[in-house]
């Protein structure tokens, strides 16, 4: 009986191919949207976690203030003494780097470029997973004296020097000239979406003296030797800093120690929520597509009243007519689902390329979207099918 219904349905669909295709357009778009959104979202999640890995593994970030964002500025900053205390008093640490960031405009000849200067020590490269493409790190003397030397990220290098070799040249930052002694290897986008290579690295003292004008340290990066010791080191840093910052037992911390795993969880959590949200919006369009199918099927039942009358007169049972229309709706919506899957694959690959996120084919979302489109066929096809089956053959045959 299903086989017969399938045969009859296919013939009916073929008889009205254009309308059938237009009918399924809503489902095609819905399925394509759901799959594309989820696929891109998964890609974004993956790219975020990849980028966090690129920040450096086993990394702890110590920031003043409890949260990132507003309010953080009120908390007292760190001093270089805090960095030294962590370095000397806590075991299982591979590298500790103080970080001060300042926004500047760097100039070389006629070219200038707005970027960020990071004042830090050589430990920054180890902690932040940076390697030098060429040149050298800072010498102890340069760091102690706060000499005007810098290491360029690849974006800054391109913007200021284009094809020239910048090593040994000078760039001007604010009022002073600064010798380029090294170049960083390209790292790409950060988890927050910013360009990690858009940076000029200088010795901490150079930045404090010549740019920020204070002894504050905005951020301390701590690289831990093994992943297992992260939690222990984190606890030690917390108690050390509470002591140094004279925080009473009843008071909350006015700083925060975050590890990359935590950052990764926060950020991938965010992208996952966004993925679900976009997927849900797309699912609504799939639902609208289903209503489109019901609409057309109802019109089709009215328009084909006479045909239904003929079928009933010939001896079709109520349930056979019902099944035919139901199968028609399901075949159409499944067809829409398949076309949508193909469309989504094309769109996902294209958009993933454009958005620079990896294309992660997810069999589960494709399957779910397909089954969902089938279910839509059943749900929205049921009422029109029932209506067709209930027609009175005499009335139906008289219908013009």
């Amino acid at each position: 009986m299903i086989g017969n219904a399938l045969l009859l349905s296919m013939r009916a669909i073929r008889r009205n191919l254009l309308r059938s295709m237009l009918t399924v357009l809503g489902v095609v778009i819905g399925v394509a949207a759901v799959i594309t959104m989820v696929t891109l979202g998964n890609g974004a999640t993956r790219s975020v976690s990849d980028q966090i890995a690129s920040m450096g593994s086993n990394l702890l970030m110590v920031r003043p203030g409890q949260r990132m964002g507003p309010g953080a500025a009120d908390a007292p900053k760190f001093r270089i003494a805090d960095v030294e205390a962590i370095r000397t008093q806590i075991a299982s640490i591979a590298a500790v780097a103080p970080v001060v960031n300042t926004a500047v405009t760097a100039v070389h000849q006629a070219r200038n470029w707005a970027t960020t200067v990071t004042g830090t020590s050589n430990d920054y490269f180890a902690a932040g997973n940076w390697t030098l493409a060429s040149g050298r790190e800072f010498t102890d003397a340069e760091q102690r004296a706060g000499k005007a030397v810098c290491i360029l990220g690849s974006t800054v290098r391109e913007k200021l020097f284009e094809a020239e070799n910048p090593l040994g040249s000078e760039i001007r930052v604010k009022q002073f000239a600064c010798e380029v002694i090294g170049l960083l290897r390209t790292k790409g986008q950060s988890a927050m979406g910013s360009d990690q290579d858009d940076v000029i690295v200088m010795p901490l003292r150079t930045v404090q003296r010549r740019l920020s004008g204070s002894l504050d340290v905005n951020l301390i990066m701590v690289s831990v030797t093994t992943p297992e010791s992260i939690d222990a080191v984190k606890a030690q840093i917390e108690s050390l800093l509470r002591e140094r910052r004279r925080i009473g037992d009843s008071e909350d911390d006015n700083f925060r120690v975050m590890d990359t795993r935590q950052i990764a969880e926060t950020l991938t959590g965010t992208t996952r929520v966004l993925t679900m949200l976009l997927g849900a919006v797309a699912a609504v369009s799939l639902l609208v597509g289903g209503i489109g199918i019901m609409n057309i099927m109802l019109v089709s039942v009215t328009e084909r009243t006479r045909e239904i009358g003929i079928r009933l007169a010939i001896g079709a049972l109520e349930r056979e007519v019902m099944l035919q229309f139901l199968v028609e709706a399901v075949v159409l919506s499944c067809l829409g689902g398949l076309i949508g899957i193909v469309l989504a694959a094309v769109a996902s690959v294209t958009l993933a390329g454009a958005m620079q996120v990896p294309f992660l084919f997810s069999p589960s979302i494709n399957l779910i979207a397909f089954l969902f489109s089938g279910a839509i066929g059943v749900i929205f096809g049921y009422f029109p099918a029932l209506r067709a089956a209930r027609l009175d053959p005499i009335e139906a045959l008289r219908h013009e």
Binding site: N4, R311, A313, I314, A316, L317, E318, L397
Partner: protein, 235 residues
């Protein structure tokens, strides 16, 4: 079933449409027996109840009162599905408006009743071809109704009606939409089916020229059988 059991037997049949004051008494006690192999023309002015009685005989409608026995089986107590099965296995319909599926080839139109009967594809195709050959349309299998003349469309409809080998062919004004010459061709075909294949034919018509093909003419007036007589065979 023996020879004396009529194929169709109507006993005191009444049909009332609607209820109360707005009701309409379409059939007022019809008694009629039709035996296998007969060719009966049903005549009468419009509103005389001839279409109503055809719908009841075709198991498309049920009587309000009285009995309808098809091959001795009471139809008036059957469910909608049981009546559908009766139509599927024993009754072929030919309509004034042909009622073919649009945008569907002649072959597929003729195949349709066999699909509902669950015949395998090859058998179905062969039977449909044979039926089309029987009505003289062997070379028109793949044409859609829009590509066929009225007479050809009616032939396809007749092929569809006879492809299942029905006991009775119910024809409602089969020549109503056709010109005189085509009408004669269609009537010749129906007559041949009746004579050569023994298919019982029940035909509604208001044209005396068409009724002349039948061997028996039942005349309806005002919901009653006014006359029922056997005619001389057409020359």
């Amino acid at each position: 079933m023996n020879e004396s059991t009529p194929l169709i037997r109507l006993i005191g049949l009444h049909k009332i449409y609607g209820r109360g004051g707005a009701s309409y008494h379409a059939l007022k006690g019809i008694d009629l027996s039709i035996h296998e192999g007969e060719f009966v023309a049903v005549m009468g002015p419009s509103g005389s109840g001839k279409s109503t009685v055809m719908n009841i005989i075709g198991c498309l409608d049920t009587p309000s009162d009285g009995q309808y026995l098809f091959r001795g089986m009471p139809v008036e107590t059957m469910s909608r599905d049981q009546r559908a099965l009766l139509r599927r296995h024993f009754i072929g319909f030919v309509f004034q408006g042909f009622n073919l599926l649009p945008r569907t080839t002649a072959l597929e139109n003729v195949e349709l009743p066999l699909i509902y009967r669950g015949h395998p594809a090859a058998e179905r195709r062969a039977a449909a071809r044979a039926a089309l050959r029987r009505v003289g349309l062997d070379n028109w299998e793949h044409h859609t109704p829009a590509e066929l003349s009225g007479g050809q469309q009616q032939r396809v409809a007749i092929a569809r009606a006879i492809v299942t080998g029905p006991k009775v062919l119910l024809a409602d004004e089969p020549t109503g939409n056709l010109d005189t010459r085509t009408s004669a061709e269609i009537m010749d075909l129906i007559t041949a089916l009746n004579r050569e294949h023994g298919i019982t034919v029940l035909m509604v018509t208001h044209e005396p020229e068409m009724a002349r093909y039948a061997r028996r003419i039942v005349r309806f007036v005002d919901g009653r059988v006014e006359s029922d007589r056997y005619a001389e065979p057409a020359s």
